[in-house]
Point group: C2
Chain length 182, copies 2
């Protein structure tokens, strides 16, 4: 199965970067796990950073697809979004989200990988904003930012705690938030 070198590289990157970290995984490991030759790697990606970029792009797409589905399921109850988050936390082993981790591993705000990871978060908050506005909430902009803060806080908490607990906690906070300004 020597075909699709690019796809196998991205798949290996997603797995290894998630399990161990970006800086912690060298090109050698990526080649070994993906079974891709060194030359093929650098034909598809000018540098390791470009592979990280491709990984981030895939993460952005998949996460926001998941988010869109979760928002549809939530109906007209914004707090229900955190039920979907709890489900997400329950299934996978929790090592944070690719965006937060990339922003932190490449903490210089001018670094291309930091910018790309931050752009994902801004896209997510824009998605949330549109959704809340569609639900007729006057405070949609502020509420969207607050929801992202709750999501990120839950993700960071979940790194230590394992399991859906932090997502449930975030949901209870969201409930209080919605009750305050109905």
């Amino acid at each position: 199965m020597p075909t699709h070198a690019r796809e196998r590289l991205v798949a290996a990157a997603e797995q290894l970067f998630y399990e161990e970290g970006i800086r912690a995984v060298g090109v050698e490991r990526l080649l070994a796990v993906s079974g891709v030759g060194r030359a093929s790697f650098y034909r598809h990606f000018p540098s390791k950073d470009d592979l990280v970029l491709a990984m981030l792009s895939g993460y952005d797409e998949r996460f926001r697809e998941w988010l869109a589905h979760a928002l549809r399921e939530a109906g007209d109850d914004p707090a229900a979004l955190f039920d979907a988050l709890a489900e997400r936390f329950g299934t996978s082993a929790l090592r944070g989200c690719a965006s937060i981790r990339t922003m932190i591993e490449f903490v210089d705000p001018d670094h291309p990988l930091h910018r790309a990871a931050a752009a994902h978060k801004e896209a997510v908050v824009a998605d949330l904003d549109r959704w809340l506005a569609g639900l007729g909430r006057a405070d949609h902009a502020e509420l969207a930012a607050q929801f992202l803060l709750l999501i990120d806080g839950a993700v960071v908490s979940a790194i230590r705690e394992r399991g859906p607990g932090p997502a449930h906690r975030a949901k209870r906070i969201a409930r209080a938030l919605l009750a305050a300004q109905p």
Copy 2:
């Protein structure tokens, strides 16, 4: 000034690890910035990881001192804690907190550095819990965990946004939270 090699190493570690990341900074840079000789480094710290441990220990001490002071200032209004957080965000350039960043850079939950960083968070939530219990809140345990979720969420948001905005946002959430269960 050839004395105090250890203190200078820890100071350089705090600065460089914060500005660039732990894995991103090699021993060479630490020696150059601190002005410490290579042999002196390894006399004080058996390995680079032990220097990270010392940095974390200093961070834990200083942060919790700051927290204790902020809690005293807050008086009987729990949400006022986030005013202190906003002040903290306003002054320093924001690149996250040492604990979150260490947990993420060493994401394996069994890694000694991950454990040390996680232990700091657990100590913080214990501090919050004692404080809230002292204020007579029946929901102190849950509220403490929720407060830490808000703090961590604000820290992650502040990495992208700069400035005290995320702390103010967290304060508004905290207000709603306290209003829900007075």
